[in-house]
């Protein structure tokens, strides 16, 4: 067990931060914050504190998921609640420090919200629209704690799930996960408990556990934010999974384009080692487990689990035939369980609070919460965790604050290159694995890109096929040539060179590529074409027949169209 002493010490430390004797300053320093200028905010705050001889403690936290408010800073002044400030610049950050810490002026104009009751014109942070409708469980720590300090994670109940798991029969843990109804949040939505059970059943050793953090959908950054802001929740999930299945070695496969996430996971793994949460005889339980980081080399297809296995083995990242499934024969031919970052981050809470607690939320076959990266033409962009079954309208208009600049909503793209575009008629659609599939899209790993009236749907399909064409592994013929051919046809349509036969051709090719491709990438690559054809066929026809792009995106079309006529 993590000694009671240590947990008490961590909790006491945390008390000192949340109920401090000197001001505590939290700066959001995940990749998103840094990109928005958090580093210069940090320097500005540091020098202002020095200049004014203010004694304060600065914490680097992850991101609260509110990209539209970055860079963000939280301040706890002794006797005051934590107050979050938004969209700071080095100058306003310096002013904030002197005004609030020296002169007791809340700077309501810069504040976003207070943690708890509203004060002095600053609203309760969790009552503002962006957070009000969210239910954060997997994301409960992001932006709250310092991701590089394991004791802050432990103080907030961290590793309690693992401790409980160690006192539970392995089969019971798997039963609990199965009962919770948790499904893989990486895209396919396969029941997690079933996967674990299959892997546990296979009589072959050693067994491996892999966390798939090779997030690559355009516009999706859920896994990155989670790993940068709360790596221990994922690592604890891995520990529980490994213990339940009987894995002795784990890998976390992170794409190389996420250097900060890699750094923070590395730090987290080192700290776990210091507290005997990794290695041999973990917490005196007799359970041995180690986690290694593997960095992806930039291939999107390596997020496909069998290509990921090939990549870890040192081979070219090409998907394999299934069956056999990784649970029977995975890494180096041994039973392997592969789960997504978000799936694993849900595990500690399920074990701590029980399956019923988890299954209480959501719909019939989609339990719990879904995590989305809400981006595109929407006012409040960011990372959200919402109960399954919430409608698209609630996400886009209530949480997201609608479409900026008075534009009309046109479509929402879910599931990245494997997903589809859903039109305004489907705004009341409840978000769940099955409902999205019926509509022609997929839940995917959580990318949600909002498109407004200025978007050309043919151009959107072209964009995703361009992506699929470049990211296909090139192994199987339908995917390699089909995505290229569909891209060429779409490219021609957007340039005014569409032919009367093109729509039928696209439909035929889509069907064929979807049915004959070897792996999920090829099988789902036609989805952007199929959904845009299903809901926006008039735009294709306008391009082909009238050389007209309603959104005025395909400029070449207009010019060349005129020349043709």
């Amino acid at each position: 067990m993590i000694t009671a002493d240590f947990r008490a010490k961590a909790e006491k430390e945390w008390q000192k931060i949340t109920n401090p004797s000197i001001p505590q300053i939290f700066i959001g320093m995940a990749t998103c914050g840094e990109a928005a200028g958090a580093l210069s905010i940090y320097k500005s705050i540091e020098s202002t504190l020095m200049k004014n001889h203010i004694e304060a403690r600065i914490h680097k936290t992850g991101c609260l998921g509110m990209c539209y408010c970055e860079p963000m800073v939280d301040i706890i002044k002794p006797g005051q609640p934590r107050i979050t400030y938004r969209n700071l610049e080095p100058e306003t950050a310096a002013e904030l420090i002197t005004d609030y810490l020296v002169n007791n002026n809340y700077r309501t104009d810069l504040a976003l919200g207070a943690w708890g009751e509203a004060i002095d014109g600053i609203p309760n942070l969790f009552e503002i629209d962006f957070l009000k409708y969210q239910e954060r469980t997997a994301l409960k720590n992001i932006g709250v704690i310092n991701p590089e300090d394991i004791s802050q994670y432990i103080a907030r109940g961290g590793y309690k799930g693992f401790e409980k798991a160690l006192c539970t029969q392995q089969d019971e843990i798997i039963d609990e996960v199965e009962k919770s109804g948790l499904r893989g949040l990486g895209g396919a939505g396969f029941p997690t408990g079933f996967k674990w059970k299959e892997c546990r059943k296979t009589e072959s050793y050693p067994k491996y556990l892999i966390c798939n953090a090779d997030e690559g959908d355009p516009g999706a950054y859920m896994d990155r934010s989670l790993l940068e802001s709360d790596p221990h929740s994922v690592l604890e999930g891995m520990l529980i999974a490994a213990y339940a299945i009987g894995c002795s070695r784990g890998f976390i496969y992170i794409r190389d384009e996420y250097p900060l996430a890699i750094k923070r996971v590395r730090t987290a793994i080192e700290q776990m080692g210091q507290y005997e949460l990794l290695g041999e005889n973990i917490l005196d339980s007799g359970f041995n487990f180690d986690i290694e980081i593997r960095e992806g080399a930039g291939a999107f297809v390596c997020g496909e689990e069998s290509a990921l296995l090939a990549s870890i083995e040192g081979n070219r990242g090409m998907p394999r035939h299934r069956p056999p499934y990784p649970a029977e024969s995975g890494l180096w031919g041994k039973p392997t369980d592969i789960n997504n970052v978000k799936t694993l981050a849900n595990i500690p809470a399920i074990i701590t609070n029980g399956a019923e607690w988890f299954a209480d939320r959501g719909t019939g076959s989609s339990k719990g919460t879904a995590i989305f990266a809400l981006t595109g033409k929407v006012a409040n962009r960011g990372l959200i965790e919402v109960p399954m079954g919430i409608t698209l309208r609630k996400i886009i208009f209530d949480i997201g604050g609608g479409i900026p600049n008075g534009k009309e909503f046109k479509a929402v793209q879910t599931g990245g290159p494997s997903g589809g575009c859903l039109p305004a008629e489907l705004l009341e659609l409840p978000i769940a694995f099955d409902s999205l599939a019926v509509a022609g899209s997929i839940m995917g790993s959580g990318g949600m890109v909002v498109l407004d009236e200025d978007t050309c749907m043919v151009d959107v399909a072209r964009f995703f096929l361009d992506f699929a064409k470049q990211e296909s592994c090139g192994q199987c013929i339908p995917c390699r040539l089909g995505t290229k051919q569909m891209f060429d046809i779409l490219d021609d349509i957007t340039k005014g060179k569409g032919r009367q036969t093109d729509i039928d051709m696209l439909l035929e090719l889509s069907e064929s590529v979807a049915h004959t491709s070897l792996c999920g990438l090829g099988r789902t690559a036609p989805n952007p074409v199929l959904t845009t054809l299903r809901y926006f066929q008039n735009e294709y026809e306008a391009h082909i027949n009238h050389k007209r792009c309603h959104a005025n995106v395909c400029r070449l079309l207009v010019e060349e169209g005129n020349i043709d006529e």
Binding site: M318, H321, G474, Q485, E511, H515
Partner: protein, 209 residues
């Protein structure tokens, strides 16, 4: 070895247990379209053309599916045709046709598939051919490689690796740009010609001088 009995297109066949549908079909002169299958190699299952229907329900790859007793295999249903015909058309649209000068002319697997499926060249005109013709590449000191004709079936790669244990050549790049290239070790290629013989479409051209 245990014998099994199953049917292909209504005809009954006896076969050894452990044989794939493809093996039995080819032995009995029933043609199933294929590019990446070679009897001497592990079935790659990447050309995706050898789809057959099993027991009136599932569509599977003939090259990777073992024949089972009392199995009902069909090689020519409308569903299979709808699935693979566009794939063949894609290959043809992408393939650089200079059949008359091609060393594989007459024994080319792609020509065979086109004849078997009665491919309609007019439908291929609806597709977009590649924009550029790529130059011949030197693969080994003895071989040219024609990326315009290559179907990326991987037979040459597997031949070099599995049969000769040499691995002079492998896939490079990704997506549409995927092609075959050589390692430095290709300087030691001893010109066994097996990859040339096994290539289904005449992509590997021995240097004459």
């Amino acid at each position: 070895m245990n014998k099994i009995r199953f049917s292909i297109n209504g005809q009954q066949f006896d076969a050894d247990q452990g044989a794939t549908i493809m093996q039995v079909a080819l032995e009995n002169h029933i043609y199933i379209p294929h590019l990446c299958y070679n009897a001497d190699l592990v079935p790659g299952g990447v050309c995706r053309l050898c789809m057959v229907e099993v027991n009136n329900e599932k569509i599977v790859l003939a090259c990777r599916t073992l024949a089972e007793n009392e199995m009902i295999v069909k090689t020519n249903t409308p569903e299979i045709d709808a699935a693979i015909r566009p794939v063949v058309e894609l290959i043809i649209a992408d393939h650089h046709f200079t059949c008359r000068e091609c060393p594989a002319n007459g024994k080319c697997e792609l020509q065979k598939i086109m004849a078997h499926l009665h491919i309609d060249r007019r439908r291929i005109d609806n597709l977009r051919p590649p924009k550029n013709k790529l130059p011949l590449e030197t693969l080994t000191p003895f071989l040219y490689y024609d990326p315009n004709k290559c179907v990326r079936c991987g037979i040459c790669v597997q031949t070099c690796e599995k049969i000769y244990g040499a691995s002079h050549i492998y896939f490079v790049n990704r997506g549409y740009e995927t092609k075959i290239a050589c390692f430095e070790s290709a300087a030691h290629c001893d010109f066994c010609m097996e990859c040339v013989k096994k290539c289904p479409v005449g992509v590997l051209i021995p240097k004459t001088e």
